[in-house]
């Protein structure tokens, strides 16, 4: 049994994703065994986290807050002038943006919705940043929107919803394909993925 304060720290750590009681206890014991400077540095860095990192005012990606410009931080991608401003990729979460970014296939910029339409969880269209999205499209002269919400019911519904909302703007709107992972044999692909890959096939001529 840990002393009271150590228990408090463990309880807090347990609130992190993927951390259970056992892992939290391990972290606490490790921190106590290490140089106290580590706990100090961790505490200081955490204390500053929300003040130093905020949502990008343009796209919702994470951005470093620059002193003097606290109100509207701009992320690295939005600040990068080499990016194609006419292509905008709409994603649900920052994690999805990071995944697409790692692929290196996206030359344009992003827009993070932050959530998906989900009446069951009480999320309606008014909870989506539609006005910011429209403003972004207008300001940047976006010509193509790629909707990259996940292939779940909520992701599909949000994609259909967005396509309808943006239809009047006269843009090219597409939905990311879903299919077979690269480098794997077709025989190992699960049936659902393979079925979707067939349904969403591409013409070769």
């Amino acid at each position: 049994m840990l002393p009271r304060h150590a228990r408090i720290v463990a309880r807090l750590l347990e609130r992190l994703p993927g951390v259970g009681e056992r892992t939290a206890t391990r972290y606490v014991l490790h921190l106590l065994a290490e140089d106290p400077a580590l706990s100090q540095a961790l505490g200081d860095a955490l204390r500053e986290l929300h003040a130093r990192v905020r949502g990008c005012a343009r796209c919702g990606n994470l951005a470093e807050v620059v002193p003097g410009l606290e109100a509207s931080p701009i992320c690295e991608i939005c600040a990068d002038g080499r990016r194609d401003a006419s292509v905008l990729c709409v994603v649900a979460r920052v994690q999805d943006l990071a995944a697409i970014e790692r692929s290196g296939a996206m030359r344009g910029r992003y827009f993070v919705l932050g959530r998906l339409v989900s009446p069951l969880e009480g999320v309606g269209p008014e909870d989506l940043p539609l006005e910011r999205l429209r403003a972004r499209i207008a300001e940047d002269g976006v010509k193509e929107v790629i909707i990259a919400t996940p292939p779940s019911v909520d992701g599909e519904a949000t994609s259909l919803f967005l396509a309808r909302e943006l239809a009047a703007l006269g843009l090219s709107i597409s939905r990311i394909a879903s299919g077979v992972p690269h480098g794997s044999e077709l025989e190992y692909a699960d049936q659902v993925t393979l079925g979707r890959a067939i349904a969403g096939r591409k013409s070769l001529g």
């Binding site: 339409v117 989900s118 009446p119 069951l120 009480g122 309606g124 269209p125 019911v153 909520d154 599909e156 519904a157 949000t158 994609s159 259909l160 919803f161 309808r164 909302e165 699960d190 049936q191 659902v192 079925g195």
Partner: protein, 375 residues
């Protein structure tokens, strides 16, 4: 039918599953009769076999309930001999977590299967329990589940099955969203996408169920006529509650928004499907006698076994719970005729083993206080 391969659970290893002691049970390839007083663990053993083959229980949707109350987890592992893969036994195991929502860890031949569907389709199994009697008299939900079980095995013929499970799950979720959206008076911008998704998945569900109903119908009629004495003609009709076209279905949902909002649920869609039985041209629910209902249920179970056997080219395992409740002298003849017609493995429970008229390849067990012993 007899040309099909056979399938059998050769051995069950179980631990902390309800009242069952840690033990190994070696089953015979044909009839296995589990005898014991009520509350000793007979149904628990059938449940362990069912969970190990399907990863689901027929008694609870909270798998944590299956874990013995003083244990952290429950475990059931089966060794399956399958003629389609001669020489090697298939090992399937399910470990259930007692805490929280009852997470499960499943392994197929020592590895995590790519999908739960792949695991659950490996060893076809059919359950006949006292609650199955509701198939002919009760609500339509049981009949929809029967259609879905058969449909999944029909799809598995071509290596599918998982898609249908995805369609059912997604249809359910899209329907739930639409219900909530109507309740909150959200507008067409939100309703349109969910109606589209309900229609896309719903149409595939209806198609799969129609195929399942076709595979069942002739067999049920033949089975019923063989059992029932009165010369009443049985007809079976699948009654889908949705158009089989995506655009038509989604347009129909859009038209019915106001009505559906008042009713609190969609008034069209495969969640309302039924399999209708007519006896002499009239609904069996209204005109059938108790004996005819039982005959119909036996015929349905027989048809389920036969349809799955044909689709999977193997005789499913039959689990039969509490047959002694069936042992009315006039009626047991039909039940034993049904049992004798089975060519696959059968595991049945009873409080009165002396009444089970099965000779030949039979293995008897006594179940006492969570322990299963060969007699």
């Amino acid at each position: 039918m007899t040309s099909n391969a056979t399938l059998g659970i050769h051995r069950l290893e179980v631990r902390d599953f309800r009242n069952l002691e840690a033990q190994v049970v070696e089953l015979g390839p044909r009839f296995n009769v589990l005898a014991g007083e009520n509350g000793q663990g007979k149904t628990n053993l059938l449940e362990a076999l069912y969970v190990a083959t399907t990863t689901r229980s027929f008694r609870t949707s909270t798998l944590g309930d299956c874990v013995r109350h003083d244990a952290a987890s429950a475990f059931a592992r089966i060794r399956v001999l399958d003629d389609r893969q001669p020489g090697v036994a298939r090992i399937q195991s399910v470990e259930l977590d007692g805490q929280g929502a009852g997470r499960r860890k499943v392994q197929l031949d020592g590895k995590r299967p790519p999908t739960l569907a792949e695991y659950a389709l490996a060893t076809p199994i059919v359950l006949f329990e006292p609650a199955s009697l509701a198939l002919s008299q009760g609500g339509a939900a049981d009949r929809r589940r029967l259609l879905d079980r058969v449909a999944i095995h029909l799809a598995a013929r071509h290596g599918g099955g998982a898609e249908l499970l995805v369609d059912l799950e997604r249809y359910r979720r899209a329907h739930g969203h639409r219900k909530k959206a109507l309740e909150r008076a959200m507008d067409a911008r939100v309703l349109d996408p969910y109606e589209r998704l309900m229609a896309e998945h719903g149409v595939r569900i209806v198609r799969a169920r129609r195929e399942a109903a076709e595979a069942l119908a002739g067999r049920v009629v033949a089975g019923f006529e063989a059992i029932a004495t009165a010369p009443l003609r049985l007809e079976i009709a699948y009654a889908p509650k949705a158009p089989e076209d995506v655009d038509a279905f989604s347009a129909l949902l859009a038209e019915r928004r106001e009505l559906d909002a008042r009713r609190g649920s969609a008034t069209r869609g495969p969640h309302l499907d039924d399999l209708a039985f007519l006896l002499g041209g009239r609904p069996a629910r209204q005109v059938a006698s108790q004996g005819q209902h039982r005959a119909l249920v036996l015929a349905l179970k027989g048809a389920e076994l036969a349809a799955i056997a044909e689709a999977r080219e193997v005789e499913p395992i039959l689990l039969l719970d509490d047959v002694s409740s069936e042992l009315d002298p006039r009626r047991n003849a039909a039940l034993f005729a049904f049992l004798h017609a089975q060519v696959g493995q059968v595991v049945l429970t009873t409080t009165r083993p002396e009444l089970i008229e099965i000779a030949g390849d039979r293995r008897d067990f006594d179940v006492v206080a969570g322990l299963v012993r060969p007699r």
